[in-house]
Amino acid sequence: MTTGSVWEWIIKSVVIVFGLLTGFAYLTLLERKVLAKIQVRIGPNRAGPMGLFQPLADAIKLIFKEEIIPSRADKIIFVLAPIITVIPALIILGVLPFGGIITLFGRQISLSLADLNVGVLYITAIASISIYGIVLAGWSSNNKYAMLGGIRSSAQMISYELALGLSFIGPILLSGSMSLHDIVAAQKPLWFVVYQPVGALIFWIATLAEVNRAPFDMPEAEQELTAGYHTEYSGMKFALFFMAEYIKMIAVSAIAATLFFGGYRFVLEDQYPILGPVWLLGKVIVLLFGMIWVRATLPRIRYDRLMAFGWKFLFPLALANVFFTAIGIVLEKLWLIPLLTIAVFLGAVVMVGISETRRWRSHVF
């Protein structure tokens, strides 16, 4: 380990963290603009040209807001909770490859921070830690709404973590490796979404639940819980929760792009490796737009329906997906995997439809 490589790591980490923070600021603007367009409104357009300085204005407002700590709150945990929420969101992308190897100032620089041989497991580990921030925020606020939000979020995230973990297994089986670099390399001929259409869908739905986005934003359901786990938070502490949610959105979109949509690889990437991060960013923006679109389209799911959906539909479907992926790989007929999994998926949808219609007819809700 030379001093040069240490500096390289530090610079890369700083670039990743600052990229995520800037991405967070402009993702909030993108979301407000897109939501406004979908709802036939104008959206933020006052601060700067086309409202481009709006995130800056928001940040300044939040910094100068008064921070209130409830008198009977558990003070240490109350202060720690937002920090515990943000850190996993910032470090989860440490194993992600952003591009190939470029030559800069006569040095070979690989556009990634670390290549862990258990990269996918690292991501699940970090994702499982990120529950704590929300649960502790809810508990330490000494507020019933916040507490309910915290309990809801822990139950929801544990439930959807199973389906999320199982949807990782498809790309792992297809590439034969848990390293994200190998998974990207294995997608050179064909993106994994072709072999894993159902796996990608499960991943997508489960990550929406993991980052507490609509339609799974139960922990902060306004009508029922005022603001859920962050009811008592104000000023910069509230901003940290907000930041964590949006950084996690970026992170899971980048992970989805890496696992199922070929990562940083796209046309001309082989000749010009510098294009890698650009393609990855493009894919991330498309996926983020999808998340915002879902939020603008779907109403929030009722809590018991959310749990039933996670445990009775998504989890068995993810198990079936793993099973049929393994069959396709053992038989060495990879084209079987999408056919079988889509058939199972459609069968499951029809079955749920029939049983729900029957329940609706007999009025047993």
Partner: protein
């Protein structure tokens, strides 16, 4: 001392301190949080031993699942988060002597082991412990039968949990 040894000592001190706080803190949620710090320290030990898989598995299973279930249960139960009773009874000296004996005994046994004084060798670049672990678990010559027995045990536990929680109508 190598940098790794310094890291080991720092992490060990933090882990031991957190372990003492687990049993001595009066607030159950705080105790659970200290326990998470202990589990995290163990994960760091796995990293120091270059066992990345075990470190990640430790975090996923213990911190991500078991500890969060503890916190979840504590939150769902009312008025147990604070304990005001005595923290030890009159037999505390017997426990102290016993644990001291156990510690010296274990240290004595370990000191007779030939690898006790040698420093750890860095892992070979070509070694793939993950693949070796996987093959050890499912290869016919490996630990296939214990692995499958463990799976059956887990399925039995799952079915048992569902049976206990089933609301018969």
């Amino acid at each position: 001392m190598t940098p790794l040894q310094i890291i080991f000592i720092i992490v060990a001190v933090i882990t031991l301190f957190a372990a003492i706080k687990v049993v001595s803190s009066r607030n159950l949620v705080h105790a659970a949080l200290w326990l998470i710090l202990v589990l995290f320290g163990i994960a760091v030990f796995f990293v120091i031993l270059s066992a990345g898989f075990f470190a990640a598995a430790q975090v996923v299973i213990y911190i991500g699942a078991i500890a969060i279930l503890m916190i979840f249960t504590i939150m769902l139960t009312r008025r147990v988060a604070r304990d005001s009773g005595a923290q030890h009874n009159s037999n505390w000296w017997a426990a102290a002597v016993l644990s001291l004996l156990l510690f010296t005994g274990l240290s004595w046994i370990l000191s007779r082991w030939q690898g006790f004084q040698s420093t750890a060798q860095p892992m070979l670049e070509s070694a793939d412990p993950l693949r070796q672990l996987g093959e050890g678990l499912v290869a016919p010559g490996g630990y296939l039968i214990p692995f499958e027995v463990a799976s059956i045990l887990l399925v039995a536990a799952l079915i048992g949990a569902i049976t206990v929680a089933w609301e018969r109508k």
